[in-house]
């Protein structure tokens, strides 16, 4: 697995996210995601006993796990760790066996109907690795809730946010060590 010293991460502020879905649409446009499919989606959770209810709005996508089960189960090496630990899919190697889809606890993967291969969020690696410092979802977010950066750099915005704010990851019990963090 090819890993460099960079460790890309995404931090999303659930206090400011309004669930407008602009991130999902920007992602579809930027990455030309197939009709009927989406790499990014919004989840709205309401919890508690009436009238003491609480609502959380989350923009969700691939968690770019450090210990990614999709990479582990891939029989051909099509799923791999790219620059900065981003989990990527090489369509040329993918057989469409769907083991990665079954292995992902976040339901982040799907079969692209055009290529018949697994597809998912790439953290806009084509932008990050070409001196565009933002992902498409980050750029479009009207409330600036999405932050992307290098966790290996302690002075980066994502490192600072995680140091200052209470945060969580999804399904920590799945043991995948996600690099997608949500600020409370």
């Amino acid at each position: 697995m090819a890993r460099d010293r960079k460790r890309y991460a995404m931090v999303i502020d659930t206090r400011t996210c309004v669930g407008c879905s602009a991130c999902a649409i920007a992602c579809k446009t930027e990455n030309q995601v197939a009709d009927g499919h989406s790499r990014v989606w919004i989840r709205t959770l309401t919890s508690g006993w009436y009238p003491a209810l609480a609502m959380t709005v989350r923009s969700e996508r691939c968690n770019q796990c450090t210990d990614a089960p999709c990479v582990r189960v891939c029989p051909t090496g099509a799923s791999y760790y790219g620059p900065g630990g981003i989990v990527l899919v090489d369509p040329d190697k993918c057989t469409g066996c769907k083991a990665c889809i079954a292995a992902c606890p976040y339901g982040a993967r799907f079969i692209d109907p055009a290529t018949h291969t697994a597809d998912k969020c790439t953290l806009c690696v084509h932008r990050l690795e070409n001196d565009v410092p933002t992902t498409a979802c980050q750029e479009i977010c009207p409330t600036e809730s999405i932050h992307v950066g290098d966790l290996a750099d302690p002075s980066s915005e994502v490192s600072r946010l995680l140091a200052e704010r209470d945060h969580y990851t999804l399904e920590p019990e799945a043991g995948t060590r996600p690099n997608l963090f949500y600020l409370r």
């Binding site: 989606w41 919890s47 009436y50 089960p69 029989p75 051909t76 057989t95 066996c97 079969i111 399904e171």
Partner: protein, 321 residues
């Protein structure tokens, strides 16, 4: 505490609750288990008495292993979304991927099972086949090579058969994202089930009485082992976290309960066990009825587990359903 969840993601295809593996995978796992059972049983038979008399049926049935394996691999291929890339399986070996292990095990099984089948084929049929087949002398030399290593071929078949049987369970068992599958007991369970369906498959044919008795008795013990392993697997899920308990609920009150307890446990295990036990007690010969039920139960086990497993997950929305 109530939890109400809505999602605006307009993509049912990526919802973890939905099925990505369908009937083809269940059929492949069933056939894979059956082939594993055939290889182990016929391999052990050859180790026990390679020279001893055996029925014509038992001498020819090992050929079913490579034929059925081909059918299984066809199902597997049909399940692939990008079928033209199937060759990629054999241009990589990923130690962490059970599917990669399986792909290579399947490839090794062809020569091993054909060698065993050749060794068990009666001499007159061997000679007739060599006369009719192209490259007869060359194939004859290969066949002689297998005949010179009867015990080794048998041992390789037992080992590879056991590996295949365990692999069909491990393939699902290593999916931590699917709590219903995520148990180390799935490998042994699928192996026991594969051995049992292998014995049942053999019992469907015209074996002699000694062979039927022996296989019937072995199948009885295998069914008992399967019952114990199913109980241990459900117990294992029940004593783990909430996600595992919710997963166990799928077959303990949830949507797959009736199918699981009717087709797998009652018809596939308890009824054939009772039938075989009664036949054993009254010195009868195990019949095809019990064997048919074992085969139906083996297929149902895989079909239900493949589907129910995909309905289980860690996500809170799944737990809340």
């Amino acid at each position: 505490m109530t939890q109400e969840i809505t999602s605006t993601r307009a993509n049912p295809l990526i919802d973890p609750a939905l099925s990505v593996w369908h009937g083809e995978v269940a059929l492949y796992l069933f056939v894979g288990g059956l082939v594993a059972g055939l290889m182990v049983i016929t391999g052990l038979w050859m180790l026990r008495s390679s020279e001893g008399p055996r029925s014509r049926a038992l001498s020819l049935l090992p050929w079913a292993a490579p034929v059925l394996l081909s059918a299984g691999m066809l199902f597997l291929w049909l399940d692939l979304e990008n079928r033209f890339n199937v060759w990629r399986f054999y241009f990589a070996f990923r130690i962490s991927s059970p599917m990669s292990w399986g792909a290579w095990i399947l490839l090794a099984i062809y020569p091993a099972s054909i060698a065993l089948a050749w060794n068990m084929t009666p001499g007159d049929l061997q000679a007739a086949a060599l006369r009719r087949l192209p490259w007869g002398p060359w194939l004859g030399r290969l066949g002689q090579c297998a005949m010179n290593h009867v015990r080794r071929v048998a041992i390789v078949n037992v080992v590879l058969g056991a590996a295949l049987g365990i692999y069909t369970g491990v393939l699902l068992g290593t999916m931590a994202a699917r709590p219903l599958w995520n148990s180390a007991l799935l490998g042994p369970l699928f192996l026991a089930s594969g051995l049992s369906t292998g014995a049942a498959f053999l019992l469907m044919w015209r074996l002699d009485e000694v062979e039927r008795r022996l296989l019937g008795r072995a199948d009885m013990w295998l069914i008992l082992a399967e019952i114990v392993l199913i109980a241990a697997w459900l117990g294992d899920l029940a004593v783990r976290g909430a996600a595992s308990r919710d997963a166990a609920w799928l077959v303990l009150g949830g949507p797959y309960t009736t199918a699981f307890w009717t087709l797998v446990v009652t018809l596939g295990l308890l009824v054939p066990l009772a039938g075989e036990w009664l036949e054993h007690r009254h010195h009868g010969v195990p019949g095809r009825f019990a064997a048919t039920l074992v085969l139906v139960g083996g297929l149902a086990l895989r079909w239900i587990l493949v589907n129910a497993g995909q309905a289980s997950g860690w996500a809170a929305d799944l737990a809340a359903r």
